[in-house]
Amino acid sequence: MTAAAQERPSGAPSPAATVEAVNVSRWYGNVVAVNDVSFSIGPGITGLLGPNGAGKSTILHMAAGFLRPSKGTVRIGSSPAWRNHEMFRNVGLVLEKEAVYSFLTGYEFVLLSANLCGLSDPEEAARRAVRAIDMEAAQDRRVGGYSKGMKQRLKVAAAIVHDPQILLLDEPFNGTDPGQRLQMMDTLRRMADEGRTILFSSHILDEVEQLAQNVLVIVAGRLVASGDFRAIRRLMTDRPYTFTVSSSDNRQLAVALVADESVFGVELGDEHLTVRTSQFADFTRVAPRIAQARGITLQELLPTDESLESVFSYLVKR
């Protein structure tokens, strides 16, 4: 399992991949929630990104075997997820619902999970999981009195108590404060570095950008893009790229750049130029040459819209 590749073209056969969807659709009556989605992910962190109501939870529910796909198959390891309750030996699940057993203490809640997983030393496993999310101070208080962020972290602790190879998380950062968020991200990163597969959903771009090497973008039930989001951005050739350029003589450089055919817009700011171009790779090669020819020193050349946000807004509005 640890040998699986980071990313693969969607739909391609990939026996080693740990979470795989093949032509999966799910509809409720005549409402299609997920429409013909195929992907395959392996170890590392994958972000499931999409606006509210896009079908993220439906996909995660199907991956966890809590929804039957109307069409297609979701596989965990090599067996279908639907009705496969044994898979939870190897899978941890955190769902969005906030409800917890409010009458248990934090430690008891995690211990419950450990016991249900049939671990040989449940107490030790529960203590380790509580430590991993840094909740030792609150572990003997009743969960009913926890804040939203604490409940969220506790749910993660309960999901990782049996050290699963696969972790499915639905909006795991909901209600967490910035500190808790960073801490949980560290925990997830560490688990990913150990070779685990982590699939988490979010509609907050920041979270996905900071955490995921790999994204699946879902819009209106369809998978519209997958892979590294920087690579996705470069595939969007019909949309201009924006660079920030600063040099020893911005005004002169602007004149020279406008002359190049790959450039179709230059804005002269106080400190730097904003250049719009249709060719990402070409421009990074051409710009230094133009500057050199004019005897201008290039101080900075930065792609400014290569953020997940620009990718996302492009995909959603397309």
Partner: protein, 243 residues
């Protein structure tokens, strides 16, 4: 059976006001028996038997099982906490059996003593004729059958309470009264049959519509079928509601 689920369910019941309500329900027959004993009675056997049949078996037993049976798993499914049990490598059969055992145990702990105590009070001063034992065993069997049915309802539908009520008060209460052929599908009739089998009172004093052996066999069949169906439903459990 899964011991963790069993213990968790007992804890869930213990902390809720539910148990207070159950305690109140169990006190009702005892209180009625005491009131009854305040008067003079010529037909203690007949009156006690019909009191146990009309109050305990008809109302207290199904109501107690209804509260516990429909909420043992139903309330967790409703509020979403069921996932913490279901997203674990525990066979669903073990989960159902544990939920069943916990709620049947608690129902029985309230209903069977209430039956026995109120029966003993009612019959105090005359020979028992097996009435108390008969009804105690009958309510115990009834607890098992009703609980299994209500657990099945709570897994199969989000309106378990409604269907449970309809079964107890409309089907068993009205339809079975009108059409005696339906007595084979009534847990109440099974219980009365079993009580009749064990009690040795004469027919004028107490007479059931169904044979005791039939009742016992049918109750076992209902118990088994309901639990098997509940397991199958839970194995195909889906989380409803989209994101």
């Amino acid at each position: 059976m899964n011991a963790t689920v069993f213990a968790l369910t007992l804890r869930q019941f213990a902390r809720q006001r539910r148990s207070l309500l159950l305690f109140g329900l169990a006190l009702v027959p005892v209180a009625i028996a005491i009131i009854y004993r305040l008067g003079e009675h010529a037909h203690q056997h007949e009156e006690t038997a019909s009191f146990l049949a009309d109050i305990v078996v008809t109302a207290i037993l199904p109501l107690a099982c209804l509260i516990l049976g429909t909420s043992a798993l139903g309330s967790e499914i409703e509020d979403g906490t069921a996932v913490y049990i279901l997203a674990k490598p525990v066979p669903r059969r073990d989960t159902i059996v544990a939920k069943f055992a916990a709620s049947a145990l608690i129902s029985a702990a309230f209903v069977v003593p209430a039956t026995a105590i109120s029966g003993l009070i009612g019959l105090q001063g005359v020979s028992g004729e097996g009435i108390v034992i008969g009804f105690a065993i009958a309510t115990l069997v009834g607890v098992f059958a009703y609980t299994a049915i209500f657990i099945l309802l709570s897994v199969a539908t989000s309106r378990a309470l409604l269907f449970g009520l309809a079964y107890v008060f409309i089907w068993e209460g009205l339809i079975t009264d009108l059409f005696s052929g339906t007595r084979y599908l009534s847990v109440r009739q099974y219980c009365l049959g079993i009580a009749d089998l064990i009690a040795t009172v004469s027919e004028e004093d107490f007479e059931a519509n169904l044979g005791g052996v039939e009742g016992l066999v049918l109750a076992t069949v209902v118990l088994a079928v309901a639990l098997v169906l509940a397991v199958r439903r839970l194995e195909a459990f889906e989380l409803t509601g989209t994101d």
